[in-house]
């Protein structure tokens, strides 16, 4: 593999990482504040993709704009879900099976609604951007990846500002760091939880719209991305937003370079074999288990403590 190819793959990995980060961040904030492993995240991603598709097909709204419109719409949707279902769960310091199953049940409901409304065919959002590409030297990058990356990074930056500069962001960080102390100093945990759930859902809808531009989707769309989100937030240490960016980059690089990973195989003597492309999907899942075992507190535990909850 020559250096141009390397650079090409690396660039593609980085572009993918942007979407991955936007996809996983919603799950992280919800986990951080409420300690809920949000399995319905997959359903929100899927709904986001269909939301952008509907806006595009019916009103000819650009899917990027559609994804951005999804932010407020899914924010309200998430708050409604929290008000209807999630707030009845008992509070806990560790994720409970009840919350896992409740969100899973809700995911099934969302999936079924999508099957009823849109059927089970694969859909995709095709815009003029999809097939055109930008040429930089010998490397060509699809324009759609660039635009999606830009939108994802922009929203992540906005989120970081909200996280650090607003009262709501500070309440969220306080609840992540120490829920009891936060309540003592006057953080309204119910209100913050509701807003956080809205925020997490908003980002899921947004990321779903972006993913819908890159991949084709069906009502079962979210599942592989749900697991990738898991990998990313576990890599990121479960509760930190900057950890998410790091985890997203690592996963994207491993997935992109996956075909070039040579594994030592013993078959009449040692030799190196490339991972067959069809086994490439194993990478995120294997990575998930390995990371959980080796670095249960995430990559950030390798570095200093300041990464935590930042």
């Amino acid at each position: 593999m020559d250096s141009v190819e390397y650079l090409d793959l690396l660039l593609k990995a980085l572009l993918l990482a942007g979407v991955y980060a936007a996809m996983a961040v919603g799950m992280t904030v919800i986990y951080g504040v409420m300690k809920i492993v949000n399995l319905a995240h997959a359903g929100f991603l899927m709904m986001g993709a269909y939301f952008a598709l509907e806006l595009f097909q019916r009103f000819h709204v650009d899917p990027i704009l559609g994804a951005i419109i999804a932010l407020p719409v899914f924010f309200l949707f998430g708050m409604a879900v929290h008000w209807l279902l999630v707030r009845w769960l008992p509070k806990s310091d560790t994720p409970t099976l009840a919350s896992l199953l409740l969100m899973f049940g809700f995911w099934l409901v969302l999936q079924n609604i999508a099957y009823l409304v849109w059927g089970n065919e694969d859909q995709s959002i095709l815009t003029p951007l999809t097939l055109s590409s930008v040429q930089i030297g010998q490397i060509s990058i699809p324009k759609v990846n660039l635009v999606v990356f830009a939108a994802a990074v922009f929203c992540m930056v906005v989120l970081q500002i909200v996280f650090h500069r607003s009262w709501f962001g500070r309440s969220m960080r306080a609840l992540i760091q120490n829920p009891y102390a936060a309540q003592i100093v006057g953080v309204d945990d119910q209100k913050t939880a509701r807003l956080t759930f809205g925020l997490g859902t908003a980002f899921a809808g947004f990321a779903g719209g972006l993913l819908g531009m890159l991949f084709s989707f069906s009502p079962d769309f979210g599942r592989p991305f749900l697991l990738r989100s898991f990998v990313i937030i576990v890599l990121g240490g479960l509760e930190s937003v900057s950890g998410v960016a790091l985890g997203a980059i690592l996963l994207a690089i491993l997935e992109t370079f996956g075909i070039n990973i040579a594994l030592p195989v013993y078959w009449h003597g040692w030799s190196f074999h490339y991972l067959p492309p069809s086994y490439q999907q194993v990478i995120p899942f294997a990575l998930l288990v390995v990371v959980l075992l080796i670095l249960p507190k995430g990559l950030s535990s390798l570095f200093s403590r300041k990464w935590k909850a930042a």
């Binding site: 994720p95 009840a98 899973f104 049940g105 898991f230 576990v234 194993v282 899942f285 075992l293």
Partner: protein, 338 residues
């Protein structure tokens, strides 16, 4: 085992045997094929639910990955039958491979606790399904077909499924009443405290995982032999793992008869309601799950228990002790409020 006391105590011992006798004599009354098929499916799923309940309900280790054992049982049975062995040898082989897999999965993942273990089991199932989709020996994603020389016997399938579920109930009862079961419950309540009292939590979890996997593997084999055709997207599916866990949750987690009750409900929903409303079955499961988690976390067994208490006009002492530990992640002593 305690000696039974009173009418209720004797009833508890007699009822299961009565149920078994009825189920064994049923084919003699020439019921419709559909009923036998429904009972077969129910028995197979109930066996897996009982297996899951040993690990998830009694020891409190929630796994989303039981589809792995179900699928391995199915494939091992199929491959052994293809090699000319008897299907019953195939079932045993399926159980053996599932147990082996349970050790391979359990050895690393039981070092994780709580949600980390749950997430790891999701990763394991997904990875195994991708591998099985690409494995040449088993036909990859296009599936595997079993061809049997003998004529199709509805009753033989039925009896093997009933035998499996009877074994599962027996194993569950024995474990629930043994010292091992006590150790498992201690692990569920507080793993560190259990370890302090001399319970080897890691090996206990490994063994109960192995027993659960063995039961699930047998069920997978029995299912595969009747289905005659299956593929990784079916037996290794994430949703298979979910179905397996759904039954104990519906029926009542941590009890022996909860998964049986849940299995009956599940079998009926799967075979009757979802056939009539094929577009709505995810909605049905989803709503059922949401309703149970929010309204009666101890499942139908909890509901029944509450009903009996109401009939006897006894005061309720604790709401749902089992669910408190497994679902909410804490003992019933602390109460529901933070």
């Amino acid at each position: 085992m305690k000696r039974p006391s009173g009418v209720g105590g004797w009833l508890k011992i007699i009822l299961p045997w009565l149920l078994l006798v009825i189920l064994l004599l049923l084919p003699a009354t020439h019921p419709s094929d559909n009923l036998i098929r429904l009972l077969f499916v129910t028995a197979v799923w109930t066996t897996t639910g009982l297996g899951w309940n040993l690990l998830g309900g009694m020891a409190g280790q929630v796994s989303f990955g039981f589809a792995v054992f179900f699928g391995l049982g199915a494939y091992t049975t199929a491959l052994l039958m293809h090699a000319g062995h008897s299907p019953y040898f195939g079932f045993v082989g399926g159980a053996a491979i599932a147990i082996l897999a349970s050790f391979l999965i359990g050895l690393p993942t039981f070092r994780l606790r709580g949600p980390y273990f749950v997430i790891a089991t999701i990763g394991v199932t997904e990875a195994v399904r991708v591998v099985m989709n690409n494995l040449d020996v088993t036909g990859g994603s296009s599936g595997y077909r079993i061809t049997e020389d003998q004529a199709f016997s509805q009753n033989e399938h039925y009896y093997s499924a009933i035998a499996a579920v009877a074994v599962a109930v027996l194993v569950s009862t024995v474990i629930a009443n043994s010292k091992f079961g006590l150790a498992l419950r201690a692990i569920k309540q507080d793993e560190d405290a259990a370890a302090d009292l001399g319970v080897n939590a890691f090996t206990s979890k490994l063994w109960v995982h192995a027993i659960a996997a063995g039961l699930t593997g047998i069920a997978g084999g029995i299912y595969a032999r009747r289905a005659a055709f299956f593929y990784p997207g079916d037996v290794f599916a994430f949703s298979t793992g979910i179905s397996i866990l759904l039954m104990p949750v519906i029926g009542g987690i941590g009890t022996v008869w909860g998964p049986v009750l849940g299995g009956v409900i599940y079998g009926m929903v799967e075979e009757q309601i979802s056939v009539k409303f094929p577009n709505l079955h995810l909605l049905i499961y989803g709503s059922l799950l949401i309703a149970i988690i929010l309204l009666e976390p101890d499942g139908l067994m909890g509901l029944l228990r509450r009903l009996f208490r109401l009939l006897r006009r006894k005061r309720e002492d604790s709401g749902s002790p089992n669910a408190d530990q497994v679902l909410w992640g804490r003992g019933g002593v602390e109460g529901r409020e933070l």
